[in-house]
């Protein structure tokens, strides 16, 4: 079946347009947002690894090298097995420091723009043959289908289309952090099309050509040479070197690095891709031998590289053939789009920007970068086209692919140094890469550049022939040996700069974050004008706002540490935009740090602890043990039964433990990193006062808080800097103050109660003595008066005697009260039994009412008849009489007294409330002390409530009084439940 060239071009155009629609719909959120984030989409997007080399070339490679074609994918499987130790650390660095390419990674690690430049140039040189391979594959596949030499306009038109769609997919606008969800979905769809196309062709081969799997098995039995042709070359070929090359290519090729790390949305997806992606490639490759054998059986006239199309044509269906052709277009376009996007970013950041510098204040940096990338994309695609024209007739597809693979393998020593060897330095890296690159050029590129006949006489091919090795084994081992040897040798012989040492520690996870001195600017408002000189006003303002949004920072921020964080975030965001080296350059120059004024060590420790906390799962060995010890000590601080608050020398809170949270009601999240003065009052002022105090210990410090007065014991100590603290720049001896607060409120209350009891006891002893001394003479006076009463008949004398008797009776009452008071506490004398509370209350009310005949009160008793109480009935009745008497005396006639009695789990509650004149605070606070009364002299002894208090305490109960002048008084009594 023959197809027309315009038809193929049109179908390619429509297909690419469909892909663009998918990407556009994704970015516009017309499809569910979870879809681009699904691990399956991520896995399929990594299918960009399978280019036309895999789609078409694998069959050709299998034809000449048998199962060797599998080595290209088994090497990748090796790399993905090592995901947690190899790929995940790279992803962490890329995400954490906003790196967008391998050049960014090396420029960041080796703090060298030269490293970035060299990597970019080498990537460009290594990728150009690969780009030309894709253009060539599409052109040749069109030739196969049209059965004629493909017109030039087809390849040129394909290149133009690709430039256009690459710009539409990935360079339509500057994406924050280089995440293009639309691109990822489109590339995933292309991978799916590739997979389905190959499965379709394999299906045609098995069922159309062999008549099913049985037919295939029979054919293989009948043709053992077919299987022999698959296995023998693999046993004898450069198996190991191709595995190594594929291992490197699987994550170092620009397109792989871009899809694996730069476009990665979820780190979890990478772990799933570790098995998902090799599985995808396994299914893809299962089709290859089947298609090859079907082509052999059918004796197809096509070259082996295009047997896939030949088998599709055998089906006789134009739709199937076009679908398979589109599978090839998918493979080519995906590779070119992603590779040129990645290379464009690298070229602009590492070749153009260092040469021209940023456009300055007059121009929008985003537009400048965007147009820079667009132009580079076009230049790269057409350079690939030029390469294709220049080498149109040389090498098989796979040869060009392997040349690129050997090129990217030169980054392996650099990656090993980045992740596992903090001692590696930029001189070693540059020397190694230059040496390896030169070897690659001499062995593989030079023969391509000179005429094939001249190549036979050139020195390079003779080298591997002399060594008795395969071309790929020789080129791989020679270039990598030179590279690694120079890398190690020069690194060992030369020194690292301090910034390089810091970056090395960050990459090898020996250091979580660099510690900076303070920014010289005083406010976040000064950032944008400072950056405007390098980025342009509009870009600078947007970048500062973006960083503030990322940090959830307010617009006007003056706190030095927050400004440091803002500076760090701006540098990271700019790194994603203009590369890490240039971003660092801009930030160092425009947002300078004050090296004289270092961040206090306490703040640095706090920052270090924060980073440790979120990164602890990455710690291993000794570091993990030290972290466990740190957490143990932290836990001790947290669990201490006293409040602990540490404040840096600049007044920033760096420690705030659990008890401190409980005491102050200020959460740890709020307190930490705040200035001590910014804490909610009264705590801010109180702690500031403690810190400023000259005393290191205050026994009792009073603080008025919302729920009343509290007493605290305060201990304070000034912290001195630890002598050995790596990665921490400590300038002063004192690094802050630690305050320990002990809540003494309960102890203070107990002490008050004890003092009160002591006072009552001494009064009791005094009263007992007084009663004894006064009682006897008064009894004598009363006896004498009674004698006189019986002896006299003079009414005047009789009246005087009555007066004496009344007064002695009154004195006796007082003395009896004193005696009762002095006996308070003699619990053994209590005659406890169970009785009805309501009856007792009614009796007390009756007694009080009878003793005040002139006063009418409405006494409301709300108490169940079933409510029993256990105690000395007489004394408890006395309690209620005392309280009710006070209520009567305090109220006007006709007033109300409410008595409410109930029981709950805590005991029996009795509330007696009057609405009389009440008491001032100074009286109510001392109401239980003897001789304290609101009554006029002669109307009360002031012992009633003291006695009441004593009786209630003797019954293991509790009494409290609430009173306010002109409002009334409420007495609350709690007594234990009956046993």
């Amino acid at each position: 079946m023959i197809l027309s060239a315009p038809g193929l071009f049109l179908s390619s155009l429509l297909y690419l347009f469909l892909l663009f629609l998918v990407a556009y719909a994704t970015e516009k959120r017309w499809i569910p947002p979870w879809l681009p984030r699904h691990p399956a989409v991520y896995i399929l997007s990594l299918g960009v690894y399978a280019t036309t080399w895999s789609f078409y070339g694998s069959v050709g490679y299998a034809d000449s090298n048998g199962f060797m074609f599998l080595a290209v994918y088994l090497g990748l499987t090796f790399a993905f097995i090592l995901t947690p130790v190899l790929l995940s650390p790279i992803l962490r660095l890329v995400r954490e420091y906003q790196l967008t390419s391998l050049a960014d990674l090396f420029a960041f690690r080796f703090r060298s723009q030269t490293a970035g430049v060299l990597v970019t140039i080498f990537m460009l040189a290594g990728t150009l043959p690969y780009l030309s391979l894709q253009i060539r594959a599409v052109t040749e596949s069109a030739s196969v289908l049209t059965q004629q030499f493909a017109p030039q306009y087809l390849s040129l038109g394909f290149c133009t289309l690709i430039v256009l769609f690459t710009i539409l997919f990935g360079a339509r606008h500057i994406a924050p952090r280089e995440k293009h969800e639309g691109l990822v979905v489109a590339i995933a769809l292309e991978s799916l099309v590739k997979l389905l196309a190959l499965i379709l062709v394999a299906g045609i081969a098995v069922f159309g050509v062999f008549g099913g799997f049985g037919g295939l098995a029979d054919w293989l039995d009948a043709h053992p040479e077919a299987l022999e042709a698959m296995t023998t070359p693999a046993r004898e070929g450069p198996w190991v070197s191709v595995l190594i090359l594929a291992f490197a290519a699987s994550f170092l090729l620009p397109r792989q690095f871009h899809m694996l790390f730069t476009e990665n949305i979820s780190p979890g997806a990478l772990i799933k891709a570790a098995w998902g992606f090799p599985l995808f490639l396994l299914i893809l490759n299962l089709a290859i031998p089947v298609i090859l054998w079907a082509a052999v059986k059918q004796n197809l006239g096509t070259v082996p590289d295009y047997h896939v199309l030949g088998i599709a044509q055998q089906s006789g269906s134009a739709a199937v053939t076009i679908f398979v052709f589109l599978g090839g277009v998918s493979a080519a376009s995906a590779m070119i789009i992603v590779s040129t996007l990645a290379l464009a970013g690298m070229t602009v950041n590492h070749l153009i920007l260092p040469t021209t510098g940023t456009p300055g204040t007059g121009m929008n940096l985003y537009r400048w970068l965007l147009w820079g990338r667009r132009i580079i994309i076009a230049v790269l695609v057409f350079a690939g086209y030029g390469f294709f024209l220049a080498f149109e007739r040389s090498s098989h597809l796979v040869q060009l692919g392997l040349i690129s693979f050997v090129a990217v393998a030169q980054f392996l020593p650099g990656i090993a140094g980045t992740l596992f060897w903090p001692g590696a330095n930029r001189n070693g890296f540059i020397a190694g890469l230059a040496g390896g690159g030169l070897t690659w050029f001499i062995v593989l590129i030079l023969p391509l550049l000179i005429d094939t006949s001249a190549a036979g006489s050139s020195a390079a091919p003779a080298l591997w022939e002399l060594a008795g090795q395969n071309k790929w084994t020789f080129s791989t081992l020679a270039s990598l040996s030179v590279n690694a040897g120079l890398f190690v040798l020069v690194s060992v012989l030369t020194h690292q700069s301090s910034s390089e040492r810091e970056a090395a520690a960050l990459c090898a996870q020996e250091l979580l974050t660099p510690y900076r001195s303070r920014v010289r600017l005083a406010s976040s408002r000064e950032f944008a004008p400072a950056l405007a000189g390098a980025l342009g006003t509009q870009t600078a303002e947007y970048e500062v706002r973006r960083a503030q949004r990322d940090l959830k920072m307010r617009e006007e921020e003056t706190e030095p540490r927050a400004l440091g964080r803002l500076r760090e975030r701006i540098e990271r965001n700019l790194s994603g935009l203009i590369g890490p080296y240039f971003a660092r350059d801009v930030v160092e120059l425009r947002l300078p740090i004050d090296r004289e004024n270092k961040a206090p060590a306490a703040e640095q420790m706090r920052l270090m602890e924060d980073r440790l906390e979120v990164s602890r799962s990455r710690l291993r060995g000794l570091a993990a043990q030290l972290d466990t010890m740190r957490r143990y000590h932290r836990q001790i601080l947290e669990e201490l039964p006293v409040g602990v608050c540490s404040v840096s020398s600049t007044g920033m809170v760096t420690t705030w433990n659990r008890v401190m949270e409980h005491l102050s009601g200020i959460s740890k999240n709020t307190a930490l990193d705040s200035q001590i003065t910014e804490l909610t009052q009264p705590w801010g002022g109180f702690l500031e006062q403690c810190i400023d105090s000259e005393q290191s210990h205050i026994h009792k410090q009073v603080l008025e808080v919302e729920d009343g007065t509290r007493w605290f014991g305060m201990y304070k100590t000034e912290m001195r800097s630890p002598r050995t603290a790596p990665y921490v720049e400590i300038d002063s001896e004192s690094i802050g103050t630690t305050v320990l607060l002990q809540d003494l409120t309960e102890i203070h209350q107990l002490e008050s109660q004890l003092a009160h009891s002591e006072r009552l006891a001494s009064i009791g002893r005094f009263a007992s003595g007084v009663a004894h001394e006064i009682g006897n003479p008064v009894t004598g006076i009363a006896c004498l008066a009674q004698n006189l009463e019986s002896e006299t008949s003079d009414p005047e004398i009789y009246s005087d005697i009555q007066g004496i008797l009344e007064q002695t009776s009154r004195i006796n009452n007082i003395v009896q009260t004193l005696v009762n008071f002095s006996r308070r506490g003699e619990v053994d004398l209590l005659q406890k039994h169970r009785f009805g509370l309501r009856h007792c209350l009614e009796e007390a009310e009756e007694l009080v009412r009878l003793s005040r005949p002139g006063k009418t009160m409405d006494v409301v008793i709300d108490c169940s008849h079933d409510l029993d109480i256990e105690g000395d009935r007489q004394r408890l009745c006395q309690v209620f009489v005392n309280i009710l008497s006070n209520g009567y005396d305090a109220s006007n006639s006709g007033g109300i007294i409410q008595i409410l009695a109930d029981q709950d789990a805590a005991g029996i509650q009795v509330k007696l409330r009057d609405y009389g004149h009440g008491m001032a605070d100074e009286i109510s606070e001392r109401i239980f002390e003897p001789f304290v009364t609101t009554k006029q002299p002669g109307e009360g002894s002031g012992l009633g409530m003291a006695l009441t208090y004593g009786i209630i305490r003797d019954h293991d109960g509790h009494i409290e009084v609430d009173s306010a002048p002109d409002v009334g008084t409420e007495v609350r009594i709690t007594l234990p439940l009956p046993a």
């Binding site: 599998l70 995901t83 698959m230 046993r235 198996w239 098995w275 599985l279 031998p289 799962s617």
Partner: protein, 54 residues
């Protein structure tokens, strides 16, 4: 982490040692290399199990 290096070691043994010559023998089923590859893929989630959880 031990599981990862165990799998990696097995892969090196199966794919990079003289054992390769055994499974590339023409008398064995043609799909044997794919089967070995598939078994290796099956072992990867097992090796990464704890890391994924973390």
């Amino acid at each position: 982490m031990e599981r990862i290096f165990l799998i990696f070691g097995i892969c090196v043994l199966v794919l990079l040692s003289p054992i390769t010559a055994w499974w590339l023998t023409p008398s064995l089923p043609w799909y044997l290399p794919f089967l070995i590859w598939f078994i290796i893929i099956l072992l990867i989630p097992w090796a990464h199990h704890r890391i994924e959880k973390r």
